[in-house]
């Protein structure tokens, strides 16, 4: 079977742009009657959150490239430290990311390949 490799820009339009933009367009056309608390919106937000969580977990647990040189335990510990920092330091995303990154660099420096 011969497969034609689609152009990456065509893939971007078909797989990235259109499936994403459709919801903005629908919002523009149907912009009445739905609010943030309606049940379908709550469900779809839960599905989107779970998808995002799966992607986050995959990027931390099974990274593709350079991040793989830093041991799994260090990556998990750094993410956990970032989370704890977020809770402790005034719910600041910025501070949490700094702490998580610092832990990753320290752990990678001590235990990395």
């Amino acid at each position: 079977m011969t497969t034609v490799e689609p152009s990456p820009y065509l893939v971007l339009i078909l797989v990235g742009f259109l499936p994403n933009e459709i919801w903005r367009a629908l919002g523009l056309v149907l912009a009445r009657g739905l609010n943030e608390d309606s049940e379908i919106v709550v469900w779809s937000r839960a599905v989107a959150t779970a998808i995002l969580a799966a992607v986050i977990a995959k990027l931390i647990l099974f990274p593709s490239g350079t991040l793989d040189n830093i041991p799994l335990a260090v990556r998990i510990a750094a993410a956990a430290c970032g989370f704890v920092a977020f809770i402790c330091i005034k719910r600041s995303v910025f501070a949490a990311v700094l702490v998580g990154e610092a832990m990753l660099l320290l752990g990678g420096f001590l235990f990395g390949r």
Binding site: N20, W23, R45, G65, N69, G100
Partner: protein
Amino acid sequence: MPVPASFSYPGAAFFGGVRSALGSVFFPVLAGTYIGIGALAHDFAFSSWWLALSTVLVWAAPAQVILLSALGAGSAIFEAAVAVTLTAIRLFPMVVALLPLIRRKETPFYQLLLPTHFTSVSMWIESLRLLPAIPAEHRIAFCNGLSTTYMATATTFGFVGFYLAAKLPPLLAGALLFLTPLSFLISTVRNAHMLVDRLALVFGLILGPILSALDVGLEIMWTGVVGGTAAYAVHRFQEAAE
């Protein structure tokens, strides 16, 4: 940051939006996020221009990360499209909530197209916070100035991350790649105000790797549907119990 309530010359509202964007918390957040996404694009062997175009066209960091990691890991195109569209549903209620703020009776339809396309978490939060203080006739220009600046910031720092990832020693390049999952994890925790959102996050974090390890195929999509629906079911049970 104070916003001038009136604008004295044409275009002043647009530049008011630019100034608000540069002074907002989302400026460093977007810069950091897109440095991470740039590094990710490099890691998955995409071109920097492909990434820049995806920032302008898709303009949603979660969808872009899913697109990069799904296509880069060789997932089915169908699965990538489904995962992107499922994360994009959240844009629908945002547009619905934004439009009443910027639309006046005499506003032509085409003027709503740009603010609609610009709708994303960062722009939406700042627009809903700042627009009420701005005269109705200047809101679209202000919104466009704000959003253009955010988009330019993201595109620029995408390039920065891409080229840094190529040049830096492995440990530092690894740290750049870690920016995306770390900042997404933390901002998802921040945005999860309701029990249903927190449960969906936890279910996704657990279910995603399990389904991945079991090699079931379309695991991102299934994690979303199963984990999200389970979280929603718990939420319904809890509401019914109250």
